[in-house]
Subunit: 165 residues, 2 copies
């Protein structure tokens, strides 16, 4: 049953796993790919340990702005392999106030990376919801398109790191 | 600011820290003290690792019954020292549906134990809320009395373990 409450995106990225991990976990890199363009991340604060902060501010040309607030909480960090966080909690595990738009329902994200050989990376992103209503709302907001676009942006950025490494 | 959203209970328990920890983390022991009598715990399921389940069913003589559901999620386990869990998430970090009564608002509990010498234990329980409304509701439900009573019950049970150890 739990499975049906998840939205899942899987891609093979044409970039080595260590660079994908770096692109995901360095706030300066994350800013450049985490929002599907033309949206962008204007602020990013990461403290990658259980209980740490995961906060981004997303803005858009249409005046869209998530604001400073609504920080999420990091849950799991397995170096180079796995990163989970949730918007149901804020930093220090405090239950979070829900906001508006994408932040109107709590969600847990579980990102897994696997070495796919030949300098490629298997990327899996799972969004966990509490009920079908939230899952459906997230799907209608364009989960597949949005997260698919950012996966491509992540791939491009990680490839660029490779060239300059 | 965050501090003001917390409810805190501190007690020095007349029982050694290893027995207090055992009384807290063994479901068969927890059943006997976790509900303020005459309420009782009829079911208890613990998987003490981050992402694991923390589920109790509480029943009362007045027909009170929390039911099977609304499992919480374990967040932190530092053997013999610290245990945190939250009702904002279920097992596997899935955002949780809120229920009724005590389960109508999300809460994170952080339990800390310290050796106070002479076979005593410093016990600190912090309940984290998302806003003052939830904190006040929890206080009105009798946080200090309820958690105070269970702290005494925990102490008694842990002392009993000492005798039989």
């Amino acid at each position: 049953m739990a499975e049906s409450l998840d939205l899942i995106l899987e891609r093979t990225l044409d970039a080595p796993i260590d660079l994908v991990w770096r692109a995901y976990t360095d706030p300066e890199h994350l800013k450049h790919w985490f929002a599907p363009k033309p949206y962008e991340i204007s602020e990013c604060e990461l403290d990658l340990r259980p209980g740490g902060i995961f906060r981004v501010r997303m803005i858009g040309p249409d005046g869209f702005d998530t604001g400073h607030g609504n920080a999420s909480c990091v849950l799991e960090v397995i170096e180079g392999q796995k990163l989970s966080w949730t918007s149901a909690l804020g930093p220090g595990y405090r239950p979070a106030e829900m906001g508006e738009g994408c932040e109107s329902f709590p969600m847990t994200a579980i990102i897994s990376l696997k070495d796919a050989g030949s300098g490629k990376t298997q990327y899996k992103a799972v969004a966990l919801h509490k009920n079908t209503q939230d899952r459906d709302a997230h799907e209608r907001m364009g989960f597949q398109e949005g997260w698919g676009t950012t996966a491509r942006q992540l791939e491009e950025l990680a490839k660029g790191l490779s060239v300059n490494a």
